[in-house]
Amino acid sequence: MIKLAFVYLVAGLMFAGFSLLSALDRGNSKRFGNAAFWGLTAVSFLAGDKLGDLGNGIVVLGLALLAAQGLLDLGQPATTSAGERIELSERFGNRLFAPALMLPIVVALGVLVLKPAQIAGVPLMDPKQATLVSLALAVIVGLTSALVLLRQPLISPLQEGRRLADTIGWAMLLPQFLAALGVVFALAGVGKEIGLLVTTYLPVDTRFAAVAVYCVGMAGFTMLMGNAFAAFPVLTGGVALPILIHHFGGNPAVIASIGMLSGFCGTLMTPLAANFNLVPPALLEIPDRYAVIKAQVPTALIMLIVNTVLMYVLAFRH
């Protein structure tokens, strides 16, 4: 059975490759900073389960200090020039799309066909992690086809991957840092405390006010926690269940479903949802760290109003 451990092994080897190639990169004056950063990431993926909690904590501190001291810079892997790329794109034509299409096709195949497949009674892949396992397989298939079809050098996946990883830089690990922060916040009881504040001080005495407090509260709380999943139990337990459902008799399916979607409006507006909001500007080489959030705010605010109205209209039709 292919499990998550396989995905971590592949990821760990990839980051180890980035680290090694960074260390050898004389074009980058901070090459050892990059090597250390990707090296620690590789250690986490390859040996995280053997390091112990404090060991992992020390890896985290190392990563944060390397980033905070500005010890990372862009590597200079050998790649093709802009002119060469235009030439190559003419030569390969639409053949270039074949490896790119492998990704969605293999992921879809994996999730829809391979996930239920069994060999001698044992599932082919861990059903709970089918998407990630499929993604890892899809990358391997895609890379193989790219190297063969487009005749790219064997080292190019690691060099090109490193080029993109350096473009994103420390922001690569921010989503994982924030996920861990969410766990520590939960441990410290941050969510409960905010939920208490919301339910104590906000008006929930009319039906519309209660709907608005729940929807806007979901968005706001999500912005503070970076994650609608953290906000949902607190506000649903504090506002939606006692007031909207039990007191005003609202339909729980409508309220819970649209409540979660109101939280997603908050996700679109917070830098704490780094994988959606802060990694893309780095990936797209936009200098303004908050450019994607700014592009999303109008849609998010309108959708928050739409969700509030939808809940008010749909939840109380009896």
Partner: protein, 222 residues
């Protein structure tokens, strides 16, 4: 109350643009401290949570493939195809992408596309090429605006459609929470009530994309 200082650390730290990795660690230490945990305990708890959440970073496995395709000229090819289409615009291109992304996400296929594997190598260069055809040569400011809008469109499409698929994490979380609160519901009911928002999101964001086309045209005039 003091526990909330961790949230304040995040807000202030991000606002004054300290390195976010450091800000996150400081926020954890602050809230942990006021909840009665020693720094060493917090570091260990953070390390364990970091290790448990490695799957968050596995999406970067696509980077080598995306990089190799860029090396071989994928972006240039994608841009050329768009430049050859009559009547193409940034708005229309992104609206078509949003429609496909919403339908596939609603069918549970969230990870067939994304910021690294689709927006950077395909959609953003296509959108920039579309604007070049319609609005003339590009300055950097316009390129950045187009890229940001392309990234935003992917997020909007996924966020407001993935809940239509029954077996997604957020739907299962909702069902689990309601069940433990004494309200037994089939997950399909949660999914069904996500549909109105999905249509509304398409309408709202598509309208914004058409306005974005106009703004790009305006920016193009000297």
């Amino acid at each position: 109350m003091m526990i909330l200082l961790g949230v304040a650390v995040i807000v202030v730290g991000f606002a004054i643009r300290l390195n976010p990795l450091l800000v996150v660690v400081l926020a954890a230490l602050t809230s942990g401290w006021f909840a009665g945990y020693s720094p060493l305990k917090v570091i260990a708890a953070f390390g364990k949570a970091f290790n448990d959440n490695r799957l968050v970073s596995t999406a970067y496995l696509v980077l080598p493939l995306v990089g190799v395709l860029e090396r071989a000229g994928l972006k240039e090819r994608a841009a050329k195809i768009i430049a050859g289409l009559p009547g193409v615009s940034v708005g229309r291109l992104l609206i078509s992408y949003m429609a496909i992304r919403q339908v596939t996400a609603a069918a549970g296929l969230v990870s067939i596309a994304g910021q690294a594997q689709t927006i950077r190598p395909l959609i953003a260069p296509m959108a920039e090429a579309a604007s070049e055809v319609r609005d003339g040569p590009q300055d950097l400011k316009r390129r950045y605006a187009i890229r940001a809008m392309a990234a935003a469109t992917d997020n909007v499409a996924v966020f407001f459609s993935e809940d239509i698929f029954v077996a997604i994490g957020s739907v299962l979380l909702v069902v689990g929470f309601l069940t433990s609160s004494g309200i037994a519901l089939d997950a399909i009911k949660i999914s069904v009530w996500a549909i109105p928002t999905a249509f509304a999101a398409f309408a709202v964001h598509a309208a914004r994309l058409l306005l974005f086309d106009r703004r790009l045209k305006g920016l193009a005039k000297p």
